[in-house]
């Protein structure tokens, strides 16, 4: 099996879809000659030309809207919003337009568009370049929301997102672009709405997304040394959410930790906790722990930034709290 980075895996999905299907094209700021601010679309201009690797001005709202308009006419655009923070600028089009056209038309139209975006701290870009806003979009009926954590997942999920007839908000994490992983020779689409069990365990379930999947796996390994067996589950799709898989895991382990990099308050973990306490009430032996960013904007100075966002040790501490262990 070939090994790809997360970045290459995304590109692979884009390139293969564009090769097989004229309706697929990419657009965004600095995605052409420069290959995107994260280098995801590098080399694509040469293969597909400027019509299909479409550089846009700094116009998040209009580029999102143009993608929607093209999708309404049967194209399958993949629009890149350079940073999640700038999703605030495209929010009107994504939330009021893309999410609702099908519904408001009584089913006459569909909007097969993907909004790729990325964020994440750990490199001190400051408060306006690393927010994690996936929770916003989970709140909006009509959108699907994906957040992949591995090369294999990101490729298979992006593929499914491109060919889904609904608008998909597709989150990538800045610090994951370089990680490597094996992927199948041929693309295997991963259905939206299916969680992935990364590691089986008996004592605690950690439900993690994005970068925190890797932190959770590190924490799980450490916990094992403490004699605690941890199951790590990545929902991968935040909407539709694979409640069944999450609940099943927690019914097995009786303890849960939810972990993401976004701010804990009103973060995705709140929804997961609300679902779990409801559906697995009688199975829970401890309060559901939430691990996320502390309640502050992202500070610049690395010591402060690192303090605000969660790490493996925070996940570990939460795991141990649920089993009532002190280290």
């Amino acid at each position: 099996m070939p090994e790809l980075t997360y970045r290459e895996a995304i590109r692979d999905a884009l390139v293969r879809a564009m090769r097989q299907d004229d309706d697929v094209f990419v657009m965004g700021e600095d995605i052409a000659e420069m290959g995107g601010s994260m280098g995801v679309t590098q080399g694509m201009l040469a293969e597909f030309g400027p019509e299909r690797v479409r550089n846009t001005p700094i116009s998040e709202m209009a580029l999102a809207g143009a993608a929607i308009g093209a999708a309404l006419q049967g194209m399958r655009p993949v629009a890149e919003i350079m940073y999640e923070d700038f999703m605030t600028l495209a929010a009107e089009q994504i939330v009021n337009q893309a999410a609702k056209h099908r519904y408001m038309s009584g089913g006459q139209v569909s909007v097969p568009v993907v909004f790729r975006t990325q964020g994440g701290a750990g490199w001190s870009p400051g408060a306006q370049h690393a927010q994690q806003l996936e929770a916003w979009f989970v709140h909006i009926p009509g959108l699907k929301v994906v957040f992949a954590s591995t090369p294999e997942d990101v490729r298979g999920l992006l593929w499914s997102s491109i060919y889904d007839d609904n608008p998909v908000v597709f989150f990538e994490h800045r610090t994951l672009y370089g990680i490597k992983g094996e992927v199948p020779e041929e693309i295997e689409p991963i259905p939206l709405g299916k969680a992935r069990i990364h590691r089986e365990g008996e004592d605690v379930t950690v439900i993690a997304t994005g970068r925190l999947v890797h932190e959770a796996l590190a924490a799980a390994a450490e916990a094992e040394r403490e004699g605690v067996s941890v199951e790590v589950v990545d929902p991968r799709t935040l909407q539709p959410l694979d409640e069944e898989a999450l609940v099943a895991s927690v019914k097995k382990t009786n303890r849960a930790v939810v972990a993401h990099e976004a701010v804990t308050r009103m973060g995705f973990g709140a929804e997961v906790a609300a679902v779990l306490q409801y559906q697995a009430f009688d199975w829970l032996d401890a309060p559901i722990e939430r691990v996320g960013a502390k309640f502050a904007p992202l500070p610049f100075a690395p010591v402060m930034e690192s303090y605000v966002v969660p790490h493996a040790e925070d996940v570990l501490a939460a795991i141990l709290r649920t089993v009532n262990k002190k280290v």
């Binding site: 094209f25 001005p57 116009s59 209009a62 309404l72 049967g74």
Partner: protein
């Protein structure tokens, strides 16, 4: 494109058809006002009384395959683009037979089959989508044009600027139709735009701008033809500025406390597009009454149709959320 060449003027019979359509819109809107006041219509409604020549002039100029995106003031555009009055009225009554099957309502009229991409309740919301639709046409080499309607108030929102900039940059076949009725809700143009002539908005993008009297359906038709030709031939989008008048309140029920008492009255006397066209055609009272009776019957039938329509089941609300 031969068809395009032919249709640059309107024969007298065409003008009569246009009048009929405008009158249909007028009577439809008046009926909607009446039924709303009678408590029969839910929601939030804006009628296009006074702006009929814009909708009809523009839409008559379109070719099969061309699409429009409309605004909160959507009924006229929908009718002019071919949605049957029955389906439109049924929508306003929230019925399954409605053009949006009861999911949309007055501000969300769709009729994809007839080229209506959808009305939009967010000011400016449809404009970038028109840019995108036109981009799709261009990428696929289809000789189609996408047309956006919007008002003077919409020229203040960032969406408008971004959408037009993108359209011009990419030279997509789009026409941006400004229905300049000098009011954005209660806000007169002088309170929302610091320029005397909104055509100047196009200068920021170097976009070709055309302007005409929006109360003269023939002028609107001809100018739209020019705009479409430009757009369709690959020369890029056009900003089409129609000088029009809002003869009613902003929404149904608007007491218009903000508006000088005689403004609407004066406009009704001098700028009613239906009176203007009727006079131009030299229609006798009889001829006009005949036309009026004809469209009034259609509107009455639409109300009947709508009232006899099917209410959605409550649980239907959970359909169409996803494809």
């Amino acid at each position: 494109m031969a068809k395009v060449e032919q249709k640059t003027t309107l024969a007298k019979s065409d003008l009569r058809d246009a009048l009929r359509e405008m009158l249909l819109i007028r009577r439809f809107e008046e009926k909607v006002e009446e039924r709303f006041r009678a408590g029969e219509l839910p929601g939030f409604l804006h009628v296009a009384i006074g702006q009929e020549a814009c909708a009809v002039g523009v839409c008559r100029a379109l070719e099969d395959g061309d699409v429009i995106a409309s605004t909160h003031r959507a009924h006229g555009h929908a009718l002019a683009k071919g949605t049957h009055p029955n389906e439109l009225m049924a929508e306003l009554y929230g019925k399954q037979e409605g053009c949006s099957h009861g999911y949309g309502g007055s501000m969300h009229l769709y009729d994809v089959q007839r080229g209506n991409m959808g009305a939009n309740a967010v000011v400016g919301g449809g404009l970038p989508q028109v840019t995108g639709a036109a981009l799709a046409f261009k990428m696929r080499g289809e000789p189609r044009v996408a047309v956006a309607f919007f008002g003077d108030g919409a020229t203040n929102i960032g969406t408008f600027h971004e959408a037009l900039n993108l359209a011009q940059l990419w030279k997509v076949p789009a026409v941006f139709v400004l229905e300049d009725n000098k009011w954005a809700e209660s806000t007169p143009e002088s309170q929302h735009s610091p320029i005397g002539d909104l055509s100047d908005r196009a200068k920021a993008f170097g976009m070709k701008a055309l302007k005409c009297d929006g109360q003269d359906v023939e002028a609107v038709y001809k100018t739209t033809r020019k705009a479409l030709e430009h757009a369709r031939s690959g020369e890029g989008p056009v900003f089409l500025h129609l000088d029009t008048a809002r003869l009613s309140g902003h929404y149904i029920g608007d007491p218009q406390v903000y508006r000088p008492k005689d403004d609407a009255r004066r406009l009704r006397e001098t700028r009613d597009p239906i009176t203007l066209l009727r006079d131009k055609l030299g229609l006798s009272d009889e001829e006009f009454q005949e036309l009026d009776a004809e469209v009034t019957a259609i509107v009455e039938a639409a109300v009947e149709f709508a009232k006899n329509g099917t209410d959605p089941a409550p649980e239907d609300a959970m359909r169409n959320v996803y494809a």
